[in-house]
Every structure is written in structure tokens, then in C-alpha cells.
Symmetry: C2
Subunit: 123 residues, 2 copies
DNA sequence: CGGGATCCGCATAGATACTG
DNA sequence: CAGTATCTATGCGGATCCCG
């Protein structure tokens, strides 16, 4: 780690972060190509505004490709770029660490988040 | 990637994310142990409130250890836990990808962020 | 010294309506 | 259909004050 690694990390994080980006990427990775409306339907709760904004950022970073069909009604398809495929190892690393970390937390605090859910329902 | 990998990713990201966490971790990784006030001085612009909040989250996740000396005036030292050491490969991965990605962006859009800096200084 | 409590401002997300 | 424009709301970060 040299002195400027932090900003690089933050740059990388920008791409994954934002309430919706991980799940957008997940949808595109697993489904290949999706229309705007399909994407929206597959992500409950997201608004057009947010979806558009997040997709634009991902597009800027060359992770997502935007293909516009000039027709009425319009049709726009989104997919992972070739360069974007290259983040899979990274996502894999993060995901794996995340999984083991969840287990670690369970070991420390006990697995009472399940109980918590039950309690919440009781109300 | 199974159906619930997203939440795991988000769990993992929670730890790195937040305006100040990367640099807090950086300080602790490079300096070993730091007092609250030393940490604050090493991170220009951060408020006590934020520093406290971020440290508490990191502590909850067992990444950072908080050692309190019961004395007047108080003294509190922070360090990376043994478990916390385990995130280095993850940080490494993210950092490396971040670096190569910055280069990729430079290739696509041209390297005009350096020029931008120059312009900013001109003022 | 190392915080906690409180108040405030701004950015950002959400909701709604409109458009090519 | 795939957005944009506009308005509103809320939640987070910053500033300030206080306390053991």
C-alpha cells in the first residue's frame, strides 16, 4: 500500500457502491441483456430516475453497454461490456469475503438475527 | 453467484464504504496503533462525531480493536484486530483493480484529469 | 481527552407528471 | 417505452456545546 492507495480504493468502490449498483450488475450478469423496463421490473422498489442514473454511471465506467434501437416505441437494451466482464474476479472476491464475514459475525454475536426477524413479526 | 450474493456483497461493502473508512483503515494499517486524537489529526477534515461513528462500525465488525485506559484524562487506542488483518487481500484486490481501472478510463477518455489539475492550480 | 447530545443545512432519493 | 423535469422529503454530515 503506497500513500495514494486510498483514492484508488475509493474509485473502485464508487462503481460497486450506491444502493442499487450491485443488484443491477447481478441482473445483467445473470441475464445477459435486459431492456430498461425488464431491469426495472427485476428490481423492486427502484424508480426510473435512480435506475437511469445508476446505469449512466456504470456506462461511464465502461462496465455497462447501452444499445438504443431507434424506433417507436423506443427500445433500449443494457448489457455488460467486454471490459466489464473483467470485474467478475473482483466481485467474486468481495462476495466470498462477505459470506465468510457474515459467518464470522454470527460466531461472535450469535445467530440471533434470525430470532430478531421472528420478534419483528410478532408485533 | 447464487441468488443472494448481492446482500453479501453489500455486507462486505458496508465495511469499506463511508467517506472515511478507507483512510481510517489505512492509517491504522500503516501506523499500527493510534490514539483517538492522533487518528483525528492524521485525517484532516474529519469531525469527532464522524470518527467515532466510523470507528464504532469497524469495531462492531471486529476489524478494529478499541482499548480504553481508565485514567484521567482518558486515553483510547485503536488498532486492527487479528481478524481484521484478514481483509488485506480484499483491500489489495480492490485497490489493484482500482488502479488498473483508472488507467482504463484514461485510455478511453484521454488523460485530461492531469490537465484539469494544472488548470485548477492556475487560478 | 474522548466522546455524547443536539441542532441545522444540504445533498440525495423518492414521488409525480410530462414528453419524444 | 424510456426516459426527463420538477418538487418534496429525509437522512447524513458538519458545527457547536456539554460532560465524566
Amino acid at each position: 500500500m503506497d500513500d495514494h492507495d486510498n483514492c484508488k480504493i475509493e474509485t473502485a468502490l464508487e462503481i460497486l457502491v450506491g444502493k442499487w449498483k450491485p443488484i443491477i450488475l447481478y441482473q445483467l450478469f445473470t441475464n445477459g441483456t435486459l431492456r430498461f423496463s425488464e431491469l426495472q421490473k427485476s428490481i423492486p422498489g427502484i424508480t426510473k430516475k435512480m435506475l437511469t442514473a445508476q446505469l449512466r454511471e456504470l456506462e461511464y465506467h465502461d462496465i455497462v453497454h447501452r444499445k438504443v434501437y431507434l424506433q417507436i416505441p423506443p427500445k433500449v437494451e443494457y448489457s455488460i461490456t467486454e471490459y466489464g466482464q473483467g470485474i467478475t474476479p473482483l466481485i467474486q472476491s468481495i462476495s466470498e469475503w462477505g459470506q465468510s464475514h457474515v459467518k464470522h459475525l454470527a460466531e461472535i454475536y450469535g445467530d440471533d438475527r434470525i430470532l430478531k426477524k421472528t420478534v419483528e413479526v410478532q408485533d
